[in-house]
Symmetry: C2
Subunit: 414 residues, 2 copies
């Protein structure tokens, strides 16, 4: 089944909001194996919307609209689809009741334009809106199914989860599932990864292999199409083995919600260990990544952002001689910071990051030079030297991720 | 001039990322008065991309592509546009040099597929990529201008600001300038702001008024279209006065690059003051916002992420009795944390944040309850109680911004 998603709303074309509805719908459709081939955004304009509807009807089996179901003059998705399909708009009784109740309960006088929200395409399948007024609906015409959904995410998401997904699943011609596995890499770039897997990627069909880079990490998604999850798994397994043979040392985890910080927090929790960090150039980014994970308080002792030499010296005890001779950006400082923060905050691991984030060099050291120190209970402290490219934000982001990655590696040695 | 934006990438159709590039480009085009009529997302597929290009060429004067310029097999925007336009791809010497230098400087062997990134459409106008490898380009064909830009936002944004905007402005049919001013708000929501300015927004024409929310701040852009910057300024002035009359107390700054942390760092620098922070629930976010500003090392002393009560007690000296009776999330703790971190790190201001980020309540206190403390040299410490809505990420983000906002307010009193 070929699907496409059409978002209706001038605010999207003005850049006032991002089209996160299309992202959400794409994820939901991917889950049940419906392939999405296009996203379109069109403004609140009947003529252009009509063009878009005709084009979509000609190339897709399933066309999902978001937005344009509200009470105002601007909202014309229903009207325009009704014209294309050749049906009237009729009042949906339950929806009208729901709207009247809404105003009654709040003691507000209902303005006339709210009645418009209860109108649906005659003969359509109606989806209740439990968190708003305008219902959604689905109608089939000339072998294309049109699904009209509200724009506000707070109304769209629950409507889709509760009512639209069961409806769409019922449309699927044969029972097939999309079974996928996400591999998460660190320490290898997207293009280097692809080079190592080029022949696999080129001959891909089922399963498909898709690498992508996001938030300074690289991810590879392998997706199999099969009758059952077990058959899908059987298709993925040989590909997974081959990937692990070639680039297994860079894989730090699998799964959708498993960024480096999530995997690290989970590992620490499982092992009953804790971590603390001393950050100079990353300025709190390592700590904020770790603490972005719910439940991190069980494993994160705390962090010290030692942006100045005084703090490195006074709070973390790096001797002035070291700061004067080796410098704040040095292997020795990184080592001491990691060890001191671990000791001071009483954690299993101490992680430090010190470097030059730019835009200007510091201590005569180049932008992008970063030292990451990892101290662990009962093991010698390790310091890694990095030469990172990019702007300040990218250097900070990558350095923080490297710190998490090295902490994970250190964990394997304990 | 009618424009449309085409994003190329299967990861968008799978819902792995949202099309924020289209949002960014729409905002940039709106600034110079170019109307965007469609956004399209298409996968890494030559046939469907060709269809989309033909459709766009037939209806738009300006077609902007993002994505698909990388080194991999998937990346085929250049190849497909070249075929539509009927030109060859040729190596751009400066781009090739830039790529070779990149690998040389890092001492990494360049893989062969990276050469592909230096290919451009013969006869096109090339935009340098200062933060990545693939250059952008523009070419005119049959009265349509095609602009091809890289997908990663870290490469796209600076390329657009530096090179693409001047190029696009030069395409505008008559000499006109777009003169705009951005007002930055805190402490008022987007819809409340819009409500207060509704009549102005509704009758807008020249200047236009566009509110939008971004990264937990609200921004209002007023843009005038005029023959000269002076005339534009004259159009903006009365609107600015009216806005300041109505909602001036929420304006903390003006300008493009002036998020709360940038304004705060700039103010501190001008006044020769410094700041330090003690963070519990924000977990390093305040520190990382401050240190994201280049040059912040002149004003930022450091931060302590006191995630556990032990660190609050041992490193920052909050008495155990206070933690036991008032709790870690309390006015007293916030006050002590702000004062202690200021004293310990020797800064003009000390800022603290302690609260419940969720997902679960803590100490019997509800998710979203946050205390922000601001200590300043020579002034009584102030503590603000916040009740924030949203998920963990939003609560942390808003709490951190409130901390910066209150620090700015405190600064006005010194």
């Amino acid at each position: 089944m070929r699907a496409e998603i059409i978002a209706v709303g001038t605010e999207l074309l003005l850049g006032q909001i991002a089209n996160t509805n299309a992202q959400f719908m794409s994820q939901k459709l991917a889950e049940i194996g419906i392939g999405v081939y296009f996203h379109t955004v069109v403004g609140d304009n009947a003529e252009r919307l009509t063009q878009v509807i005709r084009l979509a009807a000609g190339r897709s089996d399933l066309v999902i609209f978001t937005g344009g179901l509200g009470p105002t003059q601007d909202d014309l998705t229903k009207e325009t689809v009704a014209e294309h399909v050749g049906v009237e708009l009729v009042t949906d009784r339950p929806a009208m009741q729901h709207i009247e109740d809404f105003f009654l309960q709040r003691g507000i006088v209902m303005t006339e334009n709210n009645r418009k929200q209860a109108l649906v395409l005659a003969g359509s399948h109606v989806f209740a809106n439990d968190f708003g007024m305008a219902p959604g609906m689905a109608i089939r015409h000339d072998s294309t199914t049109f699904v009209l959904l509200p724009g506000p995410p707070s109304e769209l998401y629950p409507m889709v989860e509760r009512y639209v997904m069961p409806y769409l699943t019922s449309l699927l011609p044969e029972q097939q599932v999309f079974h996928s596995r996400v591999f998460r890499f660190y320490g290898i770039g997207e293009s280097a990864l692809e080079e190592r897997l080029l022949d696999l990627i080129e001959k891909q069909d089922n399963p498909t292999i898709a690498p992508y880079a996001k938030e300074f990490e690289v991810t590879l998604r392998v997706t199999a199409r099969a009758a059952t999850a077990e058959e899908g798994e059987a298709l993925i397994l040989p590909v997974e083995n081959e990937i692990r043979n070639r680039v297994g040392q860079y894989i730090y985890g699998t799964g959708e919600d498993s960024s480096l910080h999530q995997v690290l927090v989970e590992e620490l929790r499982t092992r009953g260990e804790s971590i603390a960090c001393a950050e100079s150039c990353t300025g709190g980014t390592v700590a904020s990544l770790i603490t972005s994970v719910p439940g991190s308080s069980a494993v994160f002792r705390g962090g010290i952002v030692c942006y100045t030499n005084e703090v490195k010296n006074q709070v973390l005890g790096v001797p002035e001689e070291v700061l004067d001779t080796d410098g704040a950006v040095s292997e020795t400082t990184a080592k001491l910071l990691a060890e001191q923060v671990r000791e001071k905050l009483g954690s299993t691991y101490g992680v430090s990051v010190t470097g030059v984030a730019g835009p200007d060099p510091s201590e005569g050291k180049p932008v992008g030079l970063v030292y990451v120190g990892i101290a662990a209970e009962g093991l010698p402290t390790v310091v890694k030297e990095l030469r990172l490219a990019g702007k300040r934000r990218a250097i900070v982001g990558r350095a923080a991720k490297f710190a998490l990655f090295y902490a994970l590696q250190m964990q394997k040695e304990r």
